[in-house]
């Protein structure tokens, strides 16, 4: 049981780490784009949010499985 908690914790931690890197790259580029072309902000915001949803998906899959392991539903 303690190993399950450890495994779930590691899965959630690395999911959060990956999401942090991914969102950091995404939004730094988004801000760069606004700084270069302030009038494109409205257009870029929608695109950035879609990209956010796509980036956020894989870490959150890892987090969901991590939660299942943590609560002992899996493994």
């Amino acid at each position: 049981m303690s190993l399950g908690i450890l495994a779930g914790g590691i899965m959630i931690a690395f999911g959060a780490l990956a999401a942090g890197i991914g969102n950091g790259v995404l939004f730094s580029r988004y801000l760069e784009g606004i700084a270069r072309q302030p009038e494109a902000q409205g257009k870029l915001f929608g695109q950035a949010m879609i990209a956010l949803g796509l980036v956020e998906a894989l870490p959150i899959i890892s987090i969901a499985f991590g939660i299942l392991v943590l609560f002992g539903v899996l493994g």
Partner: protein
């Protein structure tokens, strides 16, 4: 972790919570669309304006990948998918019904069991897998009917040894499509349940923030699910492929 009541029928297990959730969601979608499309006129009323906004929004999605004639063929499908998922995602954030104690009628005997009666249907992986695989099977059928020869040849392009890669690609698409939606909604609901257990004065503010974020994520994921469904379908019927 809460338990859901299950019914065994013809050797298959049916989840009562999911059945209640999907039925209510489908009913809500039908009633909403009927309510919004009464008394259509050239000078739109406020209700009609809302529906036209939704249709225009989804038309933007379908027109991204397909030309206008083909896009209008899949427009109603995309609107239905979008409305179903956005209402399913939102419903689970607004309403969650749990009961404590045993439910002998459904074979739950633990006296301390927390039984979930109503939650987001999309927070159950079976629902999203069913949706994603139905879309994938439909995309393959459409692609095959367009040109059977081209469909089969596509698996061996550009080189014949790439066939295994194509198979992995076709399997990974519905898997990630389903897991993306499920994981987002599931993680949101679990964190709401965890925050609900905590001290009220401490967890009230995070709860507010998280419920707002969950609504936002639900809308984004519904949009992304629709976009990806249209991408997968348009890949199969694109002319240059």
């Amino acid at each position: 972790m809460e338990i859901t009541p299950k019914v065994k029928f013809l050797g298959m297990t049916f989840d009562v919570t999911v059945m209640i959730g999907t039925t209510i969601t489908a009913l809500l979608v039908i009633l909403l669309v009927i309510f919004l499309t009464r008394k259509l006129s050239m000078r739109p009323s406020r209700k009609q304006n809302i529906m036209e906004m939704i249709v225009d929004f989804i038309r933007g999605v379908t027109n991204m990948m397909l030309d206008d004639k083909k896009a209008s063929k899949y427009l109603s499908f995309a609107i239905t998918t979008f409305l179903f998922i956005i209402i399913a995602n939102t419903l689970g954030v607004i309403v969650m019904i749990n009961s404590h104690g045993a439910v002998p009628a459904f074979g739950i005997t633990q006296s301390d069991a927390e039984v979930s009666w109503f939650k987001s249907p999309t927070s159950d992986i079976n629902v999203t897998v069913a949706l994603a695989f139905a879309i994938t099977i439909y995309a393959h059928i459409v692609g095959f009917r367009k040109s059977p020869k081209g469909y089969v040849a596509h698996y061996f392009q550009p080189y014949a040894w790439m066939f295994p890669l194509h198979i992995i690609d076709e399997l990974a698409k519905p898997t990630t499509h389903a897991a993306r939606l499920w994981a987002n909604i599931f993680a949101g609901e679990v964190l709401i349940l965890i925050l609900r257990e905590g001290t009220p004065y401490l967890t009230a503010l995070p709860m507010f923030a998280w419920v707002g974020f969950s609504l936002f994520v639900g809308c984004i994921q519904a949009y992304i699910f629709t976009v990806l469904a249209m991408v997968y379908i348009s890949q199969k019927i694109a002319d240059d492929h």
